[in-house]
Amino acid sequence: MKHKVIIGVFLLIFSVLPLLLLLLQSIAPGWGWGELFPSAVSVQAWQTALGDPALREAVAVTIMVILFVAAGNVILGVPAAKMLAYKHFRGKLWLDNLLFLPILIPMTAVAMGIHFTFIRAGLADTWLGTALVLFIPTLPYTIRVLRAGFERLGPESEEQAKSLGSTTLQALMFVQLPQIMPSLRSAVFLTVVITAGQYILPVIIGGGTVPMLSLLYFPYSNSANEAVVSALSLLFALLPLVVILLAEMVMRLVFAAAHRR
């Protein structure tokens, strides 16, 4: 009970209150310091923000990039995590550490290094290039989180499924992934949040032509209109949540379809 109260207070202070404040600020344009309540309520800031075609495009591109990165992380992360969890081979420890190097090296250095390769490959200044480079700060976390899930599950489930006639893919889809759903959710959540918050990588690889929300946020934040900035901040905070819900729905649909077959 005591723990629940503490968690509730923390959630209130660090999650609910800031969002509530942003919401109030976004609908109370003239709410200045010293006033207990806003003098006027208006949705003009939201109309301004959502009426901006650049912002609408940025939201669409950001959702597309995030979903691509999240899906790619799951597709690449699951086999890698499974291998690291169950296979024993020479150099496993090195590989394990190597996978974390992109996170340890400053992003700017990584981006600059990879930029020339992407220019040669024709991926610079494209949304695909931007999405691909975003695997660098996300995939190591995905692998680590999923690996912990596979390790907790153990190899016996797959062995039992195979003994009953499953192929490796069937065992993964029907037996293993449904059992490591909490890890899968955490991995997707991390991927979405990290991807949405990236600035340097989309700037360098996207070259300013791939309008992600994070890129648009900074010019907006310099605006004098606090209500518009608040509306955009709220949008920026809610976008990952929407994408996570979308991803959850997709995962549920996939597993439900697999289960029904």
Binding site: Q160, K162, S163, L164, S166, F174, Q179
Partner: protein, 330 residues
């Protein structure tokens, strides 16, 4: 050729030979119990036959077909593990019908078959229950139904009752044996429990240090154990480190006036193992008046010889008398 014929099956991990040219023959519908101590390669043997572990050498013929090159999912073999390993996100019916699902049997037919097999294992009406709602015994029954539903040519059972309490274990043995016979399933049953091995198997094989030391009817192994390990696991008697073994059945007491050796046994420790009560004995040769004879037949005066045995190597069963004793003369 026998229905199941395993020839020279060999598996090595780094420098350790886990299975050394294992040969097994079994006819259709028979169950063979494989008895062995922990770490003798019992589980590896089953995992190799199931295709989970790749063998280094040898052949596995099932109904005349060599399955050694087939992956686990294509072998007509199902393995039941020590734990029931039910899939927790599926109900009992879905768990039971899993093998049919991966073979793309329509869902209506799957459910029907699952209900039928659940009924066979005495769990009619359990279809919608989830594993977490079932007891250990019920889970193991569902696991058996799940194995039988795919009609395997060979069922491998790796100590499937080891997680159950002793009473449930006993009732499950009899019941599972009955189901296997009803279904005409050919099975290999691995255990370290002699009583379980004798109850479950039509035949008995003793695995020691990766080799089948002896196989045959339980009675044959009991009467004529061919190896000290067989003697210790599948028979009762007295043997020494030199390998001399006297089955308990062949031992008797009699009064004699001939020169003899007498021993006094002192209980050093009592413990429980394999469902039996064991005693660790200190055996001391009595300094008796009866003279001993050496190999030439000359009487040896007195007796200073003590058969010294470390406590851990002398075992005594309350039910069966002296079970085994290893010792060395000092």
């Amino acid at each position: 050729m026998a229905y199941l014929e395993i020839q020279s099956l060999t598996k090595q991990y780094k420098n350790e030979i886990v299975l050394n040219k294992v040969d097994i023959k079994l006819e259709r519908g028979e169950t063979m119990s494989i008895l062995g101590r922990s770490g003798t390669g019992k589980t590896t043997l089953l995992r190799t036959i199931a295709g989970i572990v790749k063998e280094d050498d040898g052949d596995i013929f099932i109904n005349g077909e060599n399955v050694k090159e087939k992956p686990a999912e294509d072998r007509p073999v199902v393995m039941m593990f020590q734990k029931p390993l039910l899939f927790p996100h599926m109900n009992a019916a879905d768990n039971t019908a899993y093998g049919l699902k991966v073979k793309k049997v329509p869902s209506g037919k799957r459910r029907q078959e699952a209900e039928k097999f659940l009924e066979k294992v005495g769990l009619a009406g359990f279809g919608d229950k989830f594993p977490a709602e079932c007891s250990g015994g019920e889970q193991q029954r569902i696991s058996l139904a799940r194995a039988l539903i795919v009609k395997p040519k060979l069922l491998l059972m790796d100590e499937p009752f080891s997680h159950l309490d002793s009473e449930l274990r006993r009732s499950m043995r009899l019941w599972v044996k009955e189901v296997l016979k009803e279904e005409g399933v050919t099975a290999l049953f691995v255990t370290h429990d002699r009583e379980e091995a004798e109850q479950m198997g039509d035949k008995l094989a003793v695995l020691g240090d990766g080799e089948i030391l002896q196989s045959g009817l339980a009675e044959e192994l009991y009467r004529r154990p061919a190896h000290p390990i067989v003697a210790s696991l599948a028979s009762e008697g007295f043997f020494t480190k030199e390998g001399a073994f006297v089955p308990l059945a062949a031992m008797s007491t009699k009064e004699t006036t001939q020169p003899s050796r007498a021993f006094r046994a002192v209980i050093m420790e009592e413990r429980q193992a394999y469902g039996l009560r064991f005693y660790n004995y200190y055996l001391k040769e009595e300094e008796v008046v009866i003279a001993l004879q050496d190999e030439s037949g000359t009487a040896v005066p007195g007796n200073e010889t003590v058969l010294y045995a470390p406590a851990s190597s002398l075992l005594f069963s309350e039910h069966t008398g002296l079970l085994r004793a290893e010792g060395e003369k000092k």
